[in-house]
């Protein structure tokens, strides 16, 4: 028996090569259908790609604003495709896009992620555009200005603002015979109140705290640390700035755990915790204005009070999100800047805030009749807005994600009763300090 193993006859080889060529050509044909464009069409219209990452009501609000902008700005067309990503995954997508050199003109980037993104030379410096823009820079709240400033330069435009306060269920307070909390209350009063309102027999918790270790777990602790004089990073930038203050803040959590008055939410985003509150089984929850529509829909008899503090001084945290602009050539950059400036104007900002459940970016928006009316109709909204006077923001620091992760683990270990506050924070400090030593 003779045969030529492994050798194809000429006809077969030709056939195979034809098939391979056809497969290889298919993507190239697709390539032909897309020309490399600098965003300026033959008619002189500039196309700007916007990755907003919004869903549901917020997406509709953005779409409506984009449609209006496109109608009133005939030389610019904003393509609000969304970016194929929700805002929670925007950092991942934008990072990949920057690495691959194929990025949008504008992306909705969380304030806590801005430092990571701003290291890219593709991020447009908006210092002049913001400080000399159509809306006075000083009319924006201080946390807004801080959140978009990196090393003295404005690296993004403010997009959305919120703050934390305590929403409480008045009915549960009345049933327990506990007086309503008032501004100026302390964390000790908070823990005592939570204990009094906890009723394990009826499945009622005093309060709740996200237990996933993510940013939602962490950012609630910063106001406690700031109030005690601590900071995220020490003055010399070489270590964390909350070694002692962090222990005390964690000790407050430990008390809540010992009293069995805190519901630790295992779901990301605090979804379960808020549902427990909406179901009338949680007396107090620290949250932002975004939660008010759901609370009203659930017909909870509620009110809002500022966050407690240790010193009696008002302090809260604000987590502004940003419109980050990327350089895809001067024409597109200019058009992108024009769009974000338009979005920041009080009339647009008010519409966006009302639909998205956020706060006005500045005093100019807050004075608008539309916002005033909305604020009067929404119980407790003014408390969130007023809290902006004492709000601080997380530093725009490249090591923040590592610090946050380390603190998140510490918080969870205390919430689950695995570690003492002291031990948990020591471990956090080791990890976070190591991250701070990395040159960036």
């Amino acid at each position: 028996m003779t045969r030529t193993r492994g050798v194809l006859c000429p006809v077969e080889r030709r056939g195979l090569l034809k098939g391979a060529a056809a497969i290889a050509a298919a993507p190239l044909l697709g390539a032909c259908s897309q020309g490399a464009s600098d965003g300026v069409g033959a008619d002189g219209k500039v196309t700007v790609e916007l990755w907003h990452g919004q869903v549901d009501i917020a997406k509709d609000a953005i779409q409506a604003l984009v449609t209006e902008f496109n109608r009133t700005h005939p030389r610019i067309r904003v393509d609000a495709g969304g970016g194929g990503v929700v805002s929670d995954a925007m950092l991942q997508k934008v990072t990949a896009a920057l690495a691959a050199g194929s990025y949008p003109d504008i992306a909705y980037v969380f304030g806590s992620d801005l430092a990571s993104i701003a290291r890219s030379p593709r991020v447009v410096d908006l210092t002049d555009a913001m400080r000399g823009g159509p809306t006075a820079w000083n009319s924006f709240w201080a946390p807004v200005r801080e959140a978009v400033t990196v090393n003295g330069k404005v690296r993004a435009a403010p997009a959305l603002l919120d703050s934390l306060a305590v929403v409480y269920n008045r009915k549960l307070f009345r049933q327990a015979g506990v007086p309503f909390p008032e501004a100026g209350w302390t964390w000790e009063e908070f823990t005592d109140t939570a204990r009094k309102l906890t009723d394990s027999g009826r499945g009622v918790f005093g309060t709740g705290w996200p237990g996933t270790g993510d940013e939602d777990t962490v950012w609630r602790l910063w106001p406690m640390i700031w109030d005690l004089g601590g900071d995220v990073v020490s003055d010399d930038g070489r270590s964390i700035g909350f070694a002692g203050q962090g222990v005390r803040a964690l000790d407050t959590l430990r008390r809540l755990v010992e009293d069995k008055s805190v519901y630790v939410d295992p779901k990301p985003g605090g979804e379960q915790m808020y549902q427990v509150f909406l179901g009338g089984r949680m007396a107090m929850v620290a949250t932002g204005p975004w939660q008010l529509p759901d609370i009203m829909d659930a017909e909870v008899d509620y009110d809002v009070v500022p966050l407690p503090s240790y010193t009696g001084r008002p302090v809260t945290i604000s987590g502004p999100d940003t419109w980050t602009v990327f350089d895809n050539g001067s024409a597109r950059s200019r058009a992108a800047v024009e769009f974000v400036q338009w979005m920041m104007r009080p009339e647009q900002d008010a519409r966006w805030d009302i639909r998205a459940g956020s706060l006005p970016l500045g005093s100019a928006t807050e004075r608008r009749p539309r916002w005033r009316k909305h604020s009067q109709e929404t119980t407790g909204l003014a408390v969130f807005t007023d809290a902006l006077d004492s709000a601080r923001v997380r530093p725009v620091h490249a090591a923040y994600p590592q610090i946050s992760q380390a603190l998140g683990e510490a918080i969870v270990s205390v919430l689950l009763g695995r570690d003492s506050p002291d031990k948990a924070l020591r471990r956090c400090a080791d990890k976070a300090d190591a991250a701070l030593l990395i040159p960036r």
Partner: protein
């Protein structure tokens, strides 16, 4: 050459007595139920209201049948398109993996050429490289091909996988060469032997590759997340993420969407179940 009786049938011939209960069933039945529980919970949650899903303590049984989640999902104008996109991507990937994977597998199993072992080793080595590492180079290639934000970007990287080639190779190695030799003596070409003689015997391997490729491409989220920018090009998995916002999630819609998404996967598995199990337990040969 020995006369060989080739069978692609299972080990339970028709007319066999019904299976008797064995003590193993006492262990396996609860275990199977435990594995099925998440699916049962998914199905039950899909007919609950948002309030029921988020109730504390959790509701294990719906108060009634609420189809709000399904209405919301199916009422989304883009949902049929997302479904079609997923179907296109998964189907093309399955067909191309069966075709190209079998060709590659057969070459590695039956042909000796310079560097074939090294090439096989290199190809297998790519299986241990995490996707995160190849994501950017893949993105760059797709960008160069002009496929970013098209279904092509999801299809091309999945046209053939080392896993498919390797699985086919391993299966082909279990087949006796004598069958192919007889066909060559009868004048068949390599490709004719592969498609007329070998492939019919390779049904278990075909089913395995088809099911696993379908599962992988159908359920993939991370690559579409990077490669797709517009909702007209979303796959189902990407579309489902839009039911979960930063602060709010429509869980009933998420659950209903997942039920609809998981149905084709279940159907695909059930259709190929018999041959899939065979591929794991037998070589398809009786001597």
């Amino acid at each position: 050459m020995n006369a060989l009786k080739v069978s692609a049938r299972g080990t339970s011939p028709r007319g066999a007595s019904p299976r008797r209960v064995s003590p193993w069933h006492l262990l396996l039945a609860p275990l199977a139920l435990a594995f099925a529980l998440p699916l049962v919970w998914l199905l039950l949650s899909s007919v609950m209201t948002n309030a029921e899903i988020n109730r504390f303590p959790p509701a294990l049984w719906p108060d009634g049948i609420d189809l709000g989640g399904y209405r919301y999902v199916l009422g989304n104008a883009m949902f049929p398109r997302w479904f079609a996109n997923s179907l296109i991507v998964a189907s093309v990937a399955v067909v191309s993996n069966l075709l190209l994977g079998s060709l590659g597998g057969y070459a590695f199993a039956r042909m000796r050429f310079a560097g074939s072992r090294v090439l096989l080793g290199l190809m297998l080595a790519t299986m241990v490289i995490p996707f995160q590492l190849t994501m950017i180079p893949t993105f760059l290639v797709m960008k160069w091909l002009g496929l970013i934000d098209t279904l092509g970007a999801l299809i091309v990287p999945s046209l053939v996988t080392p896993f498919a080639v390797f699985l086919f190779r391993q299966f082909f190695l279990t087949l006796p060469r004598e069958i192919e030799e007889a066909a060559w003596i009868d004048g068949c070409s390599r490709l004719r032997v592969l498609f007329s003689i070998v492939m019919p015997l390779a049904r278990p391997a075909l089913a395995t590759v088809a099911v696993l490729t379908f599962l992988t491409t159908w359920n993939d989220l991370s690559w579409p997340l990077i490669a797709i920018n517009h909702d007209t090009q979303y796959t189902l998995q990407l579309g489902l993420t839009t039911f979960q916002g930063q602060h709010h999630a429509r869980w009933s819609a998420v659950m209903a969407g997942n039920v609809i998404t998981v149905l084709p996967v279940l159907v695909a598995f059930l259709l190929a179940q018999k041959t899939f199990v065979q591929s794991l337990t037998s070589s398809g040969l009786k001597g």
